[in-house]
Amino acid sequence: SSSSKDNSVKKIQDKKTITVGTSADYAPFEFPIVKNGQKKIVGYDMLIAEKIADNLGVKLKIENTEFPSLISELKNNKIDMILAGMVSTKQRRKVVAFSRSYYTVKNVLLVQKKDANTYNTIASLKGKQIGAQQTTTQESIAKQQIKGANVVTESVLTSLTTELSQGKLAGVVVENEIADNYLRQFPNKYAVAKVKLTTPKDQRSVNIAVRKSDKALLKRINKVLIKLQNNGKMAKMLKQAQVLQDKYGK
């Protein structure tokens, strides 16, 4: 496109590949499955990434690493964009550019089924251990809102939910969609607590991150997102990812 001042799109098209960075332990956004004996990283984010690649006419390559290192990876040109359920916080906006939002986050507290009605207020969580993934918005929500609780941070979400299921943690702050998936998968094990967590405005929208210099790419990505939203495919893809996780997460 003529308006772009940089050659970020051209570079990708020359390479014939766009590399997306993600941290595939965050179903249904991104998670590994085995299909026909082949490992694949799938999920809502990956479906969107594919559409972007299609639109650019290039192949999609997925780099799977730890969530906390994704932004470093992007800055070091190891990847071209991040789709990892990443929320566009003020802090992050200082270092990377974000696309328009493709998902709005609501955070909830995932608890054991037996505690479904135990934690109704912030006060009821006083002195309890609450888990949140390190360097995520959930960590800051837990730390800022659940006053009086002890926040435990670890790098992998699953290790937190494993602890929850064993009673080591009273609850884990997770994104609504993930909580839903846990409930669907293990209806007898988990529940969402009644306690209200507010998700601050700047921590609500999930976006795609690119380098600040890659303005042309960002423009292209926003175009794709608008199209997917308008033709209703976005919602379908989320469903599709949930179904996949239900199927493979057994």
């Binding site: 470093s72 990377v96 390190q134 360097t135 435990v152 941070t153 790098s155 602890e163 064993q166």
Partner: protein, 228 residues
């Protein structure tokens, strides 16, 4: 590059204290388990020897990260520790975590003890026995004191690697120095400077430990190795 330290140094201090504490607990438990398992390993009862061999083989054959997580999940079902906060982490994590470190270290310590015992020539045991001393007295008063002296360098190395391995406790939510560095790195969106700080802290800790070990070695040795 390290300007962030002005703001974040308390986090690193807390993490360092946590690392020191879990390492000390881990080392102590490792020594106790090491003694127990080396006795089992050298025991004439085949069951004991077998159990000790299996323990040592499993610990040495699998990554400590996985061990710590599995031990932590198991231990936390068995022992109950009050959820008191301590240097930014619950004691119910710090304690099983350090025990897990100790269980890991015990296997290595047992092997070090064994090499030390083997290094003391059979002649020392025979001299003890031929004086009519019991096998236990010979082991504890004649062989072990010499063995400990011989294995001090190896023990020092094991303690140093325990300090470094203690960073795996970050997987079970213990906020030791690596966890803190990664947290700060995540906030800064740049891991390199906080990791360099963490590495320097480990370097200082392990350096101090190795100086301490050398001091002990000299002190134990001075008595009886006099060049004539």
């Amino acid at each position: 590059m390290f300007g962030f330290m002005k703001q974040y140094y308390p986090v690193f201090l807390e993490g360092t204290a946590q690392t020191i504490i879990i390492s000390i607990i881990g080392i102590l438990i490792g020594i106790l388990l090491g003694l127990l398992f080396v006795m089992m390993r050298l025991s004439k009862l085949k069951v004991f020897e077998y159990l000790a061999r299996v323990y040592i083989a499993i610990v040495r054959g699998t990554p400590s990260m996985i061990q710590v997580m599995l031990i932590y999940y198991t231990l936390s079902k068995v022992i109950s520790v009050p959820q008191v906060q301590f240097l930014g982490s619950g004691l119910d994590r710090v304690i099983p975590g350090s025990i897990a470190l100790g269980i890991n270290s015990g296997a290595y310590t047992a092997e070090i003890f064994r090499s030390g015992i083997i290094s003391i020539s059979r002649g020392q045991t025979e001299a003890g026995l031929s004086l009519g001393l019991s096998e236990k007295t010979t082991m504890f008063s004649i062989v072990l004191p010499q063995a400990v002296r011989n294995i001090l360098p190896a023990l020092g190395n094991e303690f140093i690697s325990l300090i470094k391995e203690s960073s795996v406790l970050f997987y079970i939510g213990v906020q030791e120095v690596t966890a803190q560095a990664l947290g700060v790195g995540g906030t800064l969106y740049n891991f390199v400077p906080p990791l360099i700080v963490a590495a320097s802290i480990y370097f200082v800790l392990t350096f101090l430990l190795s100086q301490l070990m050398q001091f002990i070695e000299k002190k134990m040795g001075r008595k009886y190795i006099q060049s004539n």
